[in-house]
């Protein structure tokens, strides 16, 4: 097949940070009208490559050719003007403004210094309609769910250029799907395919392998800052891809299979009766035994997180009661739950987990210190020993307790949060999406950890969007739908993902 000329070519890209060579001699090409996946573990250099391309980081070596012309991009604005638009994982828009305002913010059509509101709204409506989206551009952005906000962010990115339709040649989507549910992902993919047909080159980063295989044409794999290879998606299967990304044969995850496929018998640790919160989750009963792993399956927004938050006292229940080891716990604040031996790793690492300014050490000891109160600091020797132990046990990198936690990669940040709670030796560990947005190696490590914690007698409530993960780890699977705990299934050899999906869907189109 004769290949057309690439719209973007990066050759011999080198990027160094103090002490680290983040990218060495990486080549990358992007063709018009293709969806191209950039693959690699966290720290492989994906983000750095994107940041070099969009002018966030200056280049230390190599060339970038756009449309046959050599370009030098030194700022995100220049990248946009050159036709390279980026949509990041977190939506960077103003929720209080209308959709139309968000699309045109900073480049509103004006006449004599006055914003032409009518024209702005008309253009926004046209743009949205042309992309096949059903969005009222005059409504405030915050009235739409996150997924639609993500689509608006893409529309905004496309609108950049001359303000009249897409001037965008290259669209970079950095983990746009990590907080979307299945339907929303499909909506996003539909938009991506439409843009692809219009000739836009899309660079897509996602940790969901299935999504890559569903929507992408070509992929480039990075490992440790070097190029491993460029492949057509249809020529490389998932096992092959994972082997390329990890640089070693995949087998770690398979070891976990078949380990836990029987229900767990033990003493009751947590007993929730009629626990519920209006607008959060309908009253539910749940029993968690000692050493049991309960997995929660359900779509995003089905009440998984809400259930977990009630068990931790992060939200106050308005009905029901919880008893832990036979004693009733009031659950009016996280303190009550923590005192009873419950720990909770939120799905929102940044906003609800880490204190980015503080060091790894300070973040790790925070929960233990909070339970001791401010007057009883952890003795320095004991503190350093504990921190060193968990940094080593969880293989947190860099293994420097003085490093600011905000500078760590996603996987390592997650490990810091795990360390924070493990150090308190909880009886029940609630993990809400602990493997989201982290690389495959760290994912496997965290799943193995859950298994070994459970073997040591710790109970775990495990929430994950990937059903395979839930199925692999859980003794019991709680299925949620529409903010209701609809079923509790004892895991066993006959339980498959499709069985779980059927339960979730129960008659719906799944």
């Amino acid at each position: 097949m004769a290949e057309p000329r690439p719209v973007l070519e990066m050759a011999g890209i080198v990027k160094e940070f103090p002490g680290v060579r983040a990218l060495s001699d990486v080549d990358f090409r992007l063709f018009p009208g293709e969806i191209h996946a950039l693959m690699g573990e966290n720290g492989a250099g994906k983000s750095t490559l994107i940041k070099v391309l969009t002018g966030v980081h200056p280049l230390d070596g190599g060339t970038i050719t756009l449309d046959g012309r050599s370009v030098r991009i030194t700022s995100p604005l220049e990248a946009q003007q050159a036709g390279i638009s980026t949509v990041y994982q977190e939506v960077n828009l103003c929720p209080n403004l209308s959709v139309a305002e968000n699309i045109f913010i900073g480049r509103e059509p004006t006449r004599m210094g006055r914003i032409q509101w009518k024209q702005l709204r008309r253009q926004a409506a046209e743009l949205v309609e042309r992309l096949g989206l059903d969005i009222d551009v005059t409504a405030p952005l915050s009235s739409y769910p996150l997924a639609v906000q993500q689509l608006v962010a893409i529309v905004r990115a496309l609108g950049t250029g001359d303000g009249e339709g897409p001037g965008t040649k290259v669209l970079i989507l950095d983990e746009p799907t990590s907080s979307l549910d299945r339907d929303e992902v499909l909506q996003l993919f539909a938009l991506m395919r439409r843009l692809k047909d219009e000739g836009v080159a899309i660079l897509f980063v996602s940790h969901f392998l299935d999504q890559i295989y569903e929507v992408c044409d070509r992929m480039t794999v990075l490992r440790n800052g070097t190029l491993v290879g460029e492949h057509m998606v249809r020529d490389l299967d998932q096992v092959g891809l994972i082997q390329l990304m990890l640089g070693k044969a995949m087998g770690q995850l398979d070891e976990l299979h078949d380990q836990q496929l029987h229900s767990h018998a033990g003493e009751t640790l947590v007993q929730a009766e009629g626990l519920g919160r209006t607008g959060g989750i309908a009253p539910f009963d749940l029993e968690i035994k000692k050493g049991e792993v309960i997995g929660l399956a359900g779509l995003l927004g089905s009440g998984r997180t809400e259930l977990a938050r009630l068990l931790f006292g992060a939200d106050q229940p308005d009905s029901g009661k919880v008893s832990i080891e036979g004693r009733q716990v009031s659950m009016s604040a996280p303190n009550d739950a923590i005192g009873a031996g419950v720990a909770f790793c939120s799905e929102n690492r940044k906003s609800e987990g880490l204190v980015p300014d503080l060091t790894v050490r300070e973040n790790i000891i925070l929960a233990l210190q909070a339970s001791r109160g401010w007057t009883r600091p952890i003795p320095v020797a004991q503190r350093d020993e504990l921190v060193a132990k968990y940094i080593k046990a969880l293989d947190i990198r860099p293994a420097n307790p003085e490093a600011r936690v905000g500078q760590l990669s996603g996987g390592n940040q997650q490990k810091v949060l795990l360390a924070r709670w493990l150090i308190t030796q909880p009886k029940l560990l609630i993990l809400d999406e602990p493997t989201r947005g982290i690389d495959i190696g760290a994912k496997a490590e965290i799943q193995k950890l859950v298994v070994s914690l459970s073997e040591d007698g710790m109970s775990v409530l495990y929430i994950a969007a990937e059903l395979e993960e839930v199925l692999r780890l859980s003794h019991t699977i709680g299925v949620l739908r529409d903010r209701r705990l609809v079923a509790q299934i004892a895991n066993g050899p006959e339980i498959t993902t499709s069985r779980i999906l059927e339960t979730i869907a129960s008659g719906e189109n799944q």
């Binding site: 300070e362 925070l366 929960a367 909070a370 401010w374």
Partner: protein, 365 residues
């Protein structure tokens, strides 16, 4: 090689820029007052510009140290100036009612009353912020405005003057050849550092300021910590209030501690604590407060006309804030770490050379 890496490590230290500015400001005075650094002994007391700067800067250091902790939790306290006035008014009016104004018990009781009032103000602020969830700038605005009225009420709208030897000691007396205020300040600073760094209070304050929701979910009793911090800040302001009224032997409900909240916030920022909360530095704040006091002194020594001295002060503050900004430094001094550029790099070591030359002078005289 090693000297350059050492230099770089030095410039990265969080106290480097505040201290550099302080040294620079002190040096500016030398051409105008050649004996600026000299310290002489008279009547068994030490005198000199440096002593005066610390003495006159004492109330500001106290207020700023308390403010640092409030700002570290992500809050702000605008009421400290009013608390200064209330404390001074209460203490002085109590002393003026005594038949023997110099009786130690009366003075101690007066101080206790004043400080108690200050702590109650802090409790109120903390209650509004932590319990009622009112934004700190609004919550503390209440006492900032009303507090002056309360102080006026206490003094009946008059300036109360007193004549009390023991009370005079706090802000105007001497001990071991040095102004007594310096010892008060040193004690407060040492206690604050000990309280925050020897216990886990500092860590918890930084966690609450750095990420409030994460702190809640980790089980930190952030309300309690916030209330404590506002009470501590008010207590510091109260001590400053005693000091100011003691120094003049008078309580002026209108003017005591006027605008000191703004200087204190500025001192905290110059000291390198972010107004967004999180990491804080008590040492930085002390240096920041000294910078502001030195600036005030400098304005007088170099003879800036009174009517323009606020403009002059603002100009210096802008320069200090720019120097504090890593982005600005990269733009201006960035060349020194790169391949090219020799003009700007030369300027920086030259300054430091001047500083090291000047330093011995302080000891000689």
């Amino acid at each position: 090689m090693t000297t350059s890496t050492r230099w770089r490590a030095l410039t990265r230290h969080h106290l480097f820029w505040p201290v550099a500015v302080l040294v620079l400001l002190l040096l500016v005075n030398v051409p105008f007052t050649p004996d600026f650094f000299s310290i002489r002994m008279a009547d068994g007391h030490l005198y000199g510009s440096l002593v005066s700067i610390v003495l006159f800067g004492s109330p500001l250091i106290l207020v700023a140290v308390g403010m640092t902790l409030v700002i570290a939790t992500g809050g702000i306290d605008l009421s400290v100036g009013a608390v200064v006035a209330i404390t001074g008014a209460l203490a002085c009016s109590y002393i003026s009612d005594q038949s023997d104004q110099s009786a130690l018990s009366g003075v101690l009781l007066a101080m206790g009353l004043g400080l108690l009032a200050a702590v109650v103000c802090g409790l109120w602020n903390g209650f509004l912020v932590a319990r009622m969830g009112i934004q700190p700038i609004i919550a503390t605005l209440i006492i900032m405005v009303a507090g002056r009225g309360v102080a006026q009420l206490i003094t009946d709208g008059q300036i109360i003057t007193i004549n009390s030897e023991p009370y005079k000691l706090i802000g105007g007396g001497y001990w071991l050849t040095l102004p007594f205020s310096i010892f008060v300040v040193a004690a407060v600073v040492i206690i604050t550092v000990g309280l925050t760094r020897r216990t886990a209070l500092g860590l918890l304050v930084e966690a609450v300021g750095g990420n409030a929701e994460a702190s809640r979910l980790v089980g930190i009793r952030s309300r309690r910590i916030k209330i404590m911090v506002y009470m501590f800040c008010a207590l510091c302001a109260g001590i400053a209030g005693l000091m100011i009224s003691s120094n003049t032997s008078a309580a002026d409900g209108n003017n005591a501690g006027l605008w000191i909240e703004l200087d204190a916030i500025l001192a905290v920022v110059i000291g390198g604590t972010s107004l967004l909360g999180g990491r804080f530095s008590i040492g930085g704040t002390v240096v920041g407060a000294l910078v502001i006091q030195t600036l005030t002194t400098t304005i007088y020594t170099i003879g800036v006309p009174t009517q323009t001295n606020l403009v002059f002060k603002a100009a210096v503050v802008i320069v200090v804030c720019l120097l504090q900004s890593p982005k600005f430094r990269d733009k201006v001094f960035g060349a020194r770490f790169g391949a090219k550029g020799s003009a700007t790099p030369a300027a920086v070591p030259a300054d430091s050379a001047a500083a090291t030359e000047a330093a011995p002078k302080m000891e000689v005289s």
